[in-house]
């Protein structure tokens, strides 16, 4: 049955789609092949396949940007932020759903409305606030910022999901003598798994790739430099060191690409769930 539906029309469509995909991938291919050429080779002919793989570009970049350090910074910032976003936003959403007081409904409305505020509309004052609170240049400072910005969408996603969780389980646990915290952490929290995956993925992609907030909050502290910030060093309007710049670029995108390729099923589902709810 399946074979018979694969007609010549479908075949033509398939060829068209594959060609388009090749076109989509071409930029990656060009960056990848040129990242193992010498600068001279890149300038002479950026389209040809490298004659000799010039791996030293990578080891040079590794040292110049202190890759392990930048990678660990990105990892730490992202991991801490995502863990606390999941924890705090799920707790808040639970409280808002299970106790719909006027105050809690107002908080929810405030969170949702804040989603429309563009980052540029508050970044300058944020610099002021974070300086006052001595959050700038600190790991906990940038994590605190991501918690604030991550809260609205995450609470919103948990809120929509918790509404569909049946109360009976919680009531049973309560009858069995569990306190509210036990009910949440032992019963409700594990049930939130599907939407938690979405929250983790959306926040991870955004925080890992973020550029402007780290510039503003950790800009001065070189020890906290994230991967996107580190790679920026190689690029100016007239980049001269393309060999290093391209190797740096590949090194910066590899971790998140691997993350995507390994978890792609969940990522695509998470993105879909997130956007339909949002």
């Amino acid at each position: 049955m399946k074979v018979s539906t694969y007609k010549s029309n479908t075949f033509i469509l398939e060829i068209f789609a594959v060609l388009l995909a090749v076109l989509f991938l071409a930029p990656f291919y060009l960056v990848l092949t040129n990242s193992v050429k010498t600068l001279k080779e890149i300038l002479l002919d950026a389209a040809s396949f490298p004659q000799l793989f010039h791996w030293s570009n990578y080891s040079d970049v590794w040292k110049v940007i202190d890759f392990p350090q930048a990678f660990m910074n990105s990892l730490q910032i992202t991991a801490f932020s995502v863990v606390f976003i999941v924890l705090f936003s799920s707790m808040a959403a639970y409280q808002i759903v299970r106790r719909p007081s006027k105050f809690n409904s107002f908080v929810f409305l405030l969170l949702i409305s804040a989603m429309i505020i563009p980052f540029q509309s508050l970044m300058l004052q944020l610099v002021r606030v974070t300086s006052l609170l001595e959050l700038r240049g600190e790991l906990y400072g940038i994590v605190a910022c991501y918690l604030g910005f991550g809260m609205p969408l995450s609470v919103f996603l948990f809120h929509g999901f918790i509404k569909t969780v049946p109360l009976e389980l919680e009531e049973a646990a309560r009858v069995d003598g569990s306190n509210p915290y036990g009910v949440f952490f032992r019963i409700v929290f594990p049930l939130l798994m599907p939407i938690m995956v979405t929250v983790v993925i959306l926040n991870t992609l955004w925080i890992w790739n973020d550029y402007l907030l780290p510039v503003l909050i950790i800009g001065g502290n070189k020890d906290l430099t994230t991967l996107p910030l580190a790679v920026t060093k190689f690029f100016g309007q007239y980049t001269k060191k393309w060999d290093l710049a391209l190797a740096g670029l590949i090194m910066a995108i590899t971790p998140i690409l691997l993350f995507f390729l390994i978890l792609q099923k969940y990522i695509v589902e998470g993105v879909t769930a997130g956007s339909v709810k949002g």
């Binding site: 060009l30 429309i116 563009p118 300058l124 790739n209 550029y211 790679v231 393309w242 670029l249």
Partner: protein, 295 residues
Amino acid sequence: MRHALGIQKGWGQQIVFLGPCLIFFLTIVITPFVLGFYYSSTNWNGLDLDKAVWTGSANWSRILHDENFWNSLYFTLRFTVVSVVIANILALLLAFVLMASLKTKKVLRTVFFMPNVIGGILLGYIWQFIFTKGFATIGDLTNIPFFTLPWLGTPNTGFWGLIIVFVWQTAGYMMVIYIASLAGIPKDLIEAAKIDGARPYQLFKSVYVPLIMPAITICLFLTTSNAFKMFDLNLSLTKGGPGTSTQSLAYNIYSEALINNRYGLGTAKALLFFAAVSIITVTQVIITKRKEVSA
């Protein structure tokens, strides 16, 4: 006593569950936003943090005569309209193609989605190389005029360069949403329409589009607000150049404050920016929401 204890317990839970969320949200988002209303009427320079003198409407009248700001707004509006239209048409096209029973469809979905997982700043750098070196080489080899254009060197090509990269980045994401929506359409509805003799165009216009309207609302909302707020791509690809011809609003605010050290003026622009984003996205959502039907 028991009652009092109950209330206390309730308060305890309220504070433990909602407290952390509220603390971070109020400190990081709400406080700075509210402060903006004050700073937008001062001559705050960002350096002397405590010396922000109230200047009344000075910033606002300055913006009124700031050609750069209005050019940025015009550029941003043009960019938003063009990129939203192209990105969504391409995404919808891809979604339809990948709904067909292609053998490579899983791989293709991954490929089209891929640019999205890489941050905007890095995508901009990738394309800086493609435009300045990659295209030039291909142009030399093939003599196709498209590749020999000075891609980041003129206002016009810079505009289209940004469009290309934005569409390349966004289309796959929207495609995923459209696919999910198309997959949710009951098959018998399509069959019925076909039996009634609907032509492909009629089928598309009268059956598919109304049924995927919720997805259209979301995709238009996401692309509109992302395009209107474009910053990372702008910074890494053209830096607003040549001159300030491809400067997005977000970039204009950034450079006003962090390059010219006029934080007060930047804050005033940022408030206008917020107003513009709200008006545009809310209007768009209201308009497309009205067109939603249920199957």
